[in-house]
Amino acid sequence: MSRKSKYSLLAVALVALAACGSTSDTTQAPGKGKLTYLGKESIPKDKAEMVFQQTCMACHATGVGPVILGRDLPPEAIKLFVRHGNRAMPAFTEAMIDNETLDRVAEMVSKSKAPATQAAQ
């Protein structure tokens, strides 16, 4: 893919994500009682799943970053976002997320369905 077409794709995806926006209020419903903390059961065994859960979703499922699930984002656009970052989003090197893992993560995000809580927003 030429550099020009890559950036065109990035621009299209940027517009799509801007339309999605981030959730305007990330505070959960006021709850009483105990805090819940994650334990070892939260650690995925699969490498791509681990990147998805422990890196992508740490921002994109908490309202910090824009919603990315269930948006039919093209895998190539997702990979460009990851490698270049977008505005406040950090960029990730090949040393952090290798190309093979990124391919799988991009597929997972691209084919994801919107979670129930997201659809309700």
Binding site: T26, I43, T55
Partner: protein, 516 residues
């Protein structure tokens, strides 16, 4: 893959010299570990500060996987006088990220050196390579049922203990002053020799991670925030998981209450009632972690005071929000909780909030996670407060005295507001000091706002400097100006050490304002 890059070259290095160095590096590391194309270098070029990207454009990036390879890289760099900028995970957002301090340096990326070499569950220590992330170490402890806690900064999951400690970063647990909890390091020197500090040089020693000081001059400090060597192993201390943990928040309504808060907290900290690196976050920091500014204000410039009042009321936030925690046995926690309650009551104001009041509600939740060393990226919400991906941490040190923190707050507000920027701030509570942390947020896609942020940051440094206040850490765009604040003699000594340890100046020239 085609090489689309016209290499950014280091000062004084010719294209031929640079190409020759790359050739040798390819032979040493394998071509796949010498990155030169635009596509490969893109993640190393993303910065959040007000400096232009071009000023910090790397010439290449190389990936080393062993101490021997690091030695080999430095040998080649000495031969061709090509400087390298070592990074561990490169997640120093708002301080320069992975990009080199000056244009053309080769990023020496140590992310693939990511072995957790040892965790001793008895002495509660760890020995790590630079590429280990906090998330990786957290996973390891959980998977192996080792009841030890980490202390991590806010970008916990993707940052790493070695880089953070070497930059003298902080976390939020009782082990929050990370360099204080560091013990022993392995350093590859510019001449290729491998130094082990502390007890590490003693043959058959088993106390490298147990005793910090070793014998003779204590050297670890000179390899932090410096460019005298490449650290390839670092020992840290880990906190035993306490039987009881009680995070809490205290909200104060008025901005001027910072004086009262600090006077109330200092004895609790000095007497170890509140043992952790507690924080005092202002309303904008508190709000930014969970909502964008646009929810309440669509204008540009400084957020008006009446908007902040509205946020306080509707989001249930204080002008200042203290987050601290108690640790120990249930009995200890109960005793200390009563002391805390009495201290707050004595101020005649302040609202105590516990997890029984909030459950999993943010931002209490992420603060509670950070104060026990759990992974969360919730605080990245700061970056969408104004949007646009611009962030520079202004981090002056303050005495832990109410009058001093108030004076710094007022000065910072005055300067930021002059440039239409927001005072998004917290104080991190030390024993006798406060790290006053201001996130100078701006829209980096707006050249005008970026220029204002640059001018603002310059003025913050100089005006604080005139009053005897200096930052403990700064982004790569302002290292020279900051080094000047610490005086000529300090700069001369820094340079003398540089010339002695790295006479060709090939390791991270410009780091902390130090050149050969």
């Amino acid at each position: 893959m085609t090489d689309e890059t016209q290499h950014a070259l280091p000062q004084g290095v010719s294209p031929a010299q640079f190409e020759a160095a790359l050739g040798q590096l390819r032979a040493l590391l394998g071509p796949e570990n010498v990155l030169t194309s635009d596509e490969q270098l893109a993640p190393y070029t993303k910065v959040m500060m007000s400096d232009p990207d071009e000023k910090h454009m790397p010439g290449a990036a190389v990936l080393a996987t062993s101490v021997e390879q690091v030695q080999g890289v430095l040998k080649i760099c000495n031969q061709f006088k090509t400087p390298v900028w070592p990074i561990s995970t490169g997640r120093n957002f708002g301080y320069g990220s992975a990009a080199p301090g000056t244009r053309g340096q080769i990023v020496l990326d140590l992310k693939h050196m990511n072995k957790i070499i040892e965790v001793d569950p008895v002495l509660c220590t760890a020995l790590l390579e630079p590429g280990v992330t906090y998330q990786q170490l957290w996973n390891y402890l959980k998977e192996n049922d080792i009841p030890l806690w980490l202390s991590c900064p806010a970008p916990s999951a993707i940052a790493g203990p070695v880089g953070n400690t070497l930059d003298r970063g902080v976390g939020y647990t009782p082990y929050g002053e990370h360099f204080m909890m560091q013990c022993g390091m392995e350093v590859v020197l510019a001449n290729g020799e491998v130094l082990r500090t502390g007890m590490g040089g003693v043959e058959k020693s088993n106390t490298w991670q147990a005793f910090k000081w070793g014998y003779g001059p204590y050297l670890d400090g000179i390899f932090t925030q410096s460019n005298y060597g490449v650290v390839t192993k670092l020992g840290i201390w880990l906190m035993p998981q306490p039987p009881a943990y009680k995070p809490f928040c205290i909200q104060y309504e008025d901005e001027g209450d910072i004086d009262t808060i600090v006077e109330m907290l200092r004895p609790l900290k000095l007497n170890n009632i509140v043992p952790n690196a507690a924080v005092i976050a202002n309303v904008m920091w508190e709000a930014a972690a969970v909502i964008p500014r646009s929810k309440y204000y669509d204008g540009t410039g400084t957020t008006p005071k009446e908007v902040l009042e509205e946020i306080k009321q509707k989001e249930g936030m204080g002008a200042w929000n203290v987050y601290a925690a108690l640790y120990g046995t249930p009995e200890q926690v109960e005793v200390n909780w009563n002391i805390v309650k009495k201290a707050v009551e004595a101020t005649g104001k302040g609202k105590l909030i516990t997890e029984e009041d909030t459950g999993d509600r943010e931002p209490f939740r992420y603060r509670a996670q950070l104060m026990k060393g759990d992974m969360t990226l919730q605080e990245f919400g700061l970056y969408r407060w104004r949007g646009g991906g611009g962030s520079m941490w202004f981090a002056p040190v303050s005495q832990a005295k109410g009058s001093e923190t108030k004076a710094q707050m007022e000065l910072a507000q005055e300067i930021l507001n002059e440039y239409g920027l927001d005072y998004v701030a917290e104080f991190i509570v030390g024993m006798r000091d406060m790290h006053h942390i201001v996130d100078v947020l701006f829209d980096r896609s707006d050249p005008g706002e970026t220029a204002r942020a640059h001018e603002c940051f310059t003025k913050l440094l100089s005006e604080f400097g005139k009053r005897g206040y200096a930052v403990y850490r700064v982004n790569t765009g302002f290292m020279e100006q900051t080094a000047d604040l610490y005086g000529k003699v300090k700069r001369d000594v820094d340079q003398t050490l540089k010339r002695a340890l790295d006479p060709n100046g090939i390791i991270a020239p410009g780091k902390s304002g130090i050149f050969v």
